[in-house]
Symmetry: C2
DNA sequence: ACCGGCGGGTTGTTTTTACAACGAAAATGG
DNA sequence: CCATTTTCGTTGTAAAAACAACCCGCCGGT
């Protein structure tokens, strides 16, 4: 892990390299690598650590019996996952987290982070505030998905999602971080029906796309 | 407001009555009353305060043009709303908050809560930690809704929601906090179709219900 | 080069849901 | 206590999505 990597993450923002290193020790952290598709947290378990993606990316998903999955969001390098459950000891996960490519994960013990650290680590409070920010951001991400799944039609959901991607990118041209199946899972619709709708929208001149690159008009 | 009310809320848990009172002053708080249906926060605005429900209850909802609404959750007495946006200054709301009955709301300035308070209020850090817990809980609430809306069929959604209500109540008999329309909005389905499905399930002997009281078998 | 798997598009069928319209019961308000 | 509005269940119809089956093209491995 690069020295400057940590202090550029949302969690460690505002600390120095040395402080961050010390915090890692204090938090009882360790790293682990996962292959594509490997499950990192499984629904039903309860966890006492949160994970930070060092490299690669993971998806947070709800797995139904019958094999359907709903993707709640994607977590990229530098971002956290599982912090919600880590903050609520004993709460069983209702989601699973899986690597969507080969990924390296840093685990951080939550109890130690939340404990009112005596005085050894003066930066605990900073970290807690950062974590609050992150939690609020994750809240937004979840709300955003609700926003995109609130239209009842596939087209409505696609437009809601794609418009926001355009807004985020500040351009009508952008690349999305999902494969078709993942996008369908994220929007809660059938993949083939979605492909169909995308083609229909293209025929109507609403948009263009090639693979994951989209152009809205 | 009852003296012991505050210190029994998740936000002020762990503080004394006097401390809580002082914090109220420190946070620049004020109260306001809303009639049933009144909008407290409107999507698109940005806010610098969070609200605590003192009495009554409010719903957090996504309003589409065309008048459809998606209910993300219900906030009861003692609970917070808007804390997500209050933690992220300038972020425009993508949801609205409306009173679903006559409600009294306490507003708390977020900047002052999050500011690293010099030394006047020693309990700021406690409050921030509590807020982190609350934020995590709200995360769960949002995830829970995603869980309940991830089945594609109305029946699947109903069963997901009702099973959890049963689990929460620790009994197969329970009362839900939603009217039919609200439940339909929460589950993201058509009300009449949902009524229909409920009746069908009753005919099949899966459950009984009268008004908001349900009995699962 | 061949094979096999995966991602993605197409098509047709079937099931489900949304939608609209209505009526009865219950709640509300004067 | 009556009038009005809201809530909820019912029905039928039209529209949409799920589902299944299939195709093609691409890529990685052998």
């Amino acid at each position: 892990m690069n020295d400057s990597f940590l202090i550029n993450t949302a969690l460690f923002r505002g600390t120095s390299v040395e402080e961050a290193r010390e915090m890692l020790r204090c938090l009882g952290s360790y790293e682990k690598e996962y292959e594509k598709g490997a499950v990192i947290f499984r629904a039903g378990e309860s966890v006492d650590s949160m994970g930070m993606v060092l490299s690669g990316s993971v998806t947070i998903e709800i797995d139904s019996l019958w094999g359907d999955k709903t993707i709640l969001g994607r977590v990229e390098a530098g971002q956290l996952f599982g912090e919600t459950y880590a903050c609520i000891p004993g709460e069983p996960l209702m989601v699973s987290v899986a690597a969507c490519e080969k990924s390296r994960i840093l685990f951080l013990n939550a109890d130690r982070l939340l404990a009112t650290c005596s005085n050894s680590c003066a930066y605990h409070n900073k970290l807690v505030r950062n974590l609050l920010q992150i939690s609020a951001q994750k809240n937004l991400a979840l709300s955003r998905r609700s926003l995109h799944t609130s239209p009842k039609s596939i087209r409505g959901r696609l437009l809601s999602y794609l418009s926001e991607q355009a807004r985020l990118n500040g351009s009508y041209q952008f690349t999305i971080p999902f494969s078709r199946q993942q996008l369908a899972d994220y929007l809660g619709v059938d993949r083939s029906a979605m492909s169909n709708e995308l083609s229909k929208m293209r025929r109507e001149g609403l948009l263009r796309f090639e693979k994951n690159r989209f152009l809205l008009r």
